[in-house]
Symmetry: C2
Subunit: 482 residues, 2 copies
Amino acid sequence: MTLYLNLATLLGQRIETGLYLPGQRLPSVRTLSLEHGVSLSTVQQAYRVLEDLGLAVPRPKSGYFVSPTRRQMLLPASSRPAQRPVEVCQWDQVLELMRTSSRPDTLQLGSGTPDIAAVTLKPLFSALNQISRRHDLAMLRYDNIQGLLELRQQVARLALDSGCRLLPEDIVITTGCHEALSAAVRALCKPGEIMAVESPGFHGIMQTLKGANVQAIEIPTDPVTGISLEALELALEQWPVRAILVTPSCNNPIGFTMPDERKQRLLRLAQRFDTPIIEDDIYGDLAYGYPRPSSIKSMDKEGRVLLCSSFSKTLAPGLRVGWIAPGRYLEQVLHMKYIGTGATATHTQMAVAEFIAKGFYQPHLRRVRGQYQRNRDRVIRWISQYFPEDTRVSQPQGGFMLWVELSESVDTLRLNRLLTESSIQIAVGSIFSAVGKYRNCLRINYACVESAAMEEAIRCIAQSLNSAQTVHNCHPTSQSSG
Amino acid sequence: MTLYLNLATLLGQRIETGLYLPGQRLPSVRTLSLEHGVSLSTVQQAYRVLEDLGLAVPRPKSGYFVSPTRRQMLLPASSRPAQRPVEVCQWDQVLELMRTSSRPDTLQLGSGTPDIAAVTLKPLFSALNQISRRHDLAMLRYDNIQGLLELRQQVARLALDSGCRLLPEDIVITTGCHEALSAAVRALCKPGEIMAVESPGFHGIMQTLKGANVQAIEIPTDPVTGISLEALELALEQWPVRAILVTPSCNNPIGFTMPDERKQRLLRLAQRFDTPIIEDDIYGDLAYGYPRPSSIKSMDKEGRVLLCSSFSKTLAPGLRVGWIAPGRYLEQVLHMKYIGTGATATHTQMAVAEFIAKGFYQPHLRRVRGQYQRNRDRVIRWISQYFPEDTRVSQPQGGFMLWVELSESVDTLRLNRLLTESSIQIAVGSIFSAVGKYRNCLRINYACVESAAMEEAIRCIAQSLNSAQTVHNCHPTSQSSG
């Protein structure tokens, strides 16, 4: 990351944490230049970024001030799903999302793709290239059922950042995090059994439960602290919950990171009820703050946690390289991987292992983390400009997904269909619930913000909101605010 | 394929079909040279291949004769599995096979890997190489949920060879045939339901049923004509069979190709009981005879057949590129693919599409088909030389797998453990049955026969047979001959 972007990120964090208050004067260009040992023009560039993000405003001859007019967006309300096991539905809408996600002429704000055009990914192409030029026959063979050893070694090394001490033999490489989650669910649950999930929660997880004929009990989540431990405890007391599935760090779709103390309490709860935890950590490496959030797995001494992740969000989803550290459930997970795909493609595993081993992973992460954080602020500013007063947005702590809660009368399914004409696609809120709640919510991908196009898209979505009102009262399936 | 190998294959087929009888004089070198318009030395090379295969013997000054002393190996007996639905077991043994399959120092006769060192595969490396050099961002994106359009177009074109008229939109690309079969099984069957399968049958299929909690009813098969239609009819009458899963062309592990007329009858049976058919055609393109066998799918006008295949056996398994044409079950299969892996790796799909589009697929097939057919004859000759009198072997019509039925007293599980010391691995027969039948059988991969090493391995297996006798009578789980 360049010096001025570094500085902009730092100042942005200070503004956000309230170290500099709205309207307050920011340090002078000269002061910052001396303090950080950078040139005056670097500081000026950093301030221009903050201006662009709507965090700072210049006043002639007085320097920069924290934006006083900055409208504080409200966070989404804590969710209130029904507290009983349900069958998952919504497959039609997920399929619609999948089908439109591959249209090349559409601005795909609903997809889960990171910035794959980042310049720091170039060595990945070189790695793929060199491996095929070596005519390495290993890339054509069936891979080891646990996955390529060299890659498992690198994954074990990276997992230390989240506090996990894993050995290569604790890890199973999978075809994306999708296969990791799917194998974990099927390894733990028989059809008809119950799994506790966050609500809202990733649609891939909801559909995995549907496919495995597992019932979901949706647990309320808070947009800052994550899954409600109180509601979870009640659910564990009341129902034979077979497993708990959470995305505790840089959650999808809400963006929270559970504080460590709450992760600890979640683990203790699981111990008390002797329940395994499936931990989806796919966005963990993309946390904006330092240090990277701990995984619940890092606190687990009993092999109770099945940690799932992948390189789909940090590098590129087309590689289909994910992994799972299934703890004491290793053999059951291997069985599910064997029957699901047999093995994972070898070539891309080799390339990812080489990319990490040669030291390209961390610089890439540093670059995209900064980019995503700045994009988040930019998009939130546009929403505060163009969307109605009562709009609520999440404040993601990592990743590149924004959750937007609209007036109860808005039907985002209808909105999405209206947007087709403008070649814009969003992820409708209802797919993030087992029973189609959150119809008045949507999720936006902000990984790649080409300013003009994205601002235009946000404006276009805002303009379509009026036409996307539900005709009848949709109380039972909408998210009530409060 | 070179001229002399072409000629050797032709003459070999004539000997095999009885056009030339044992002891009969074969056409002179000069005659063949004139007849086929090739040089005398080409004919001599062809005869040396037949000599090596044990099909022809030279007599000084008289030319070549059909081998008179050729011991006719008996075919395996028709199988006689129990005719009732059972739970699948044997996972431990499959896992053992998977784990030893990646040991680099072991001669892996138990694996399912084709000859990936074939010179005709070189353009595949070039394709992979060129795609990464183009820095094509498409390879990093989530693929279309149905798979890469360019590849589906090529698959549709190839499917014409088996008589199928498919459109690209009828096809779903999968992570290997494993995912195709797994998605098909889970799309059709709920837990506790019953599927009819061939016995013996591919262990991946058996384990897929286990993973989906589907019961198997094992149907007897004949080593020449395939699944017993009579037994299948009885099963359909007696049990609520939800689907039929067959590998009718170049079957794994037995190697038969069902005659077209029996394929037709199988389809009519499925129609009568309104049962879908999952057709595994993964080895179909590797049939030795011409024309390539028809698929049952090609006879199906109602979308009843789910045709599954991949490039794992024709090109290379490490690519993990398979496909399914699910007929009327398209949407259910898409759901199962979505929850299983989300998408298939894009890079390898692009490379396979390019390899086929540029015309490299058919020449590669021609080369390996000839090689596999010659290897089959070579390995059968060694077995007839070294194995006990009562050994029975299959006569595969395509692919590269040989099924060997030994005396009932032999336990191939024990044999396999004994062979570990000699760094040889076979596939034990018991994994090809839901309940561990066929303990006295084994499957050998003959894709790559480096003459000396392979003959030595066959001799080594033969020598270990005595020590691999069961102590007790294992009647209930062994395959009785008769």
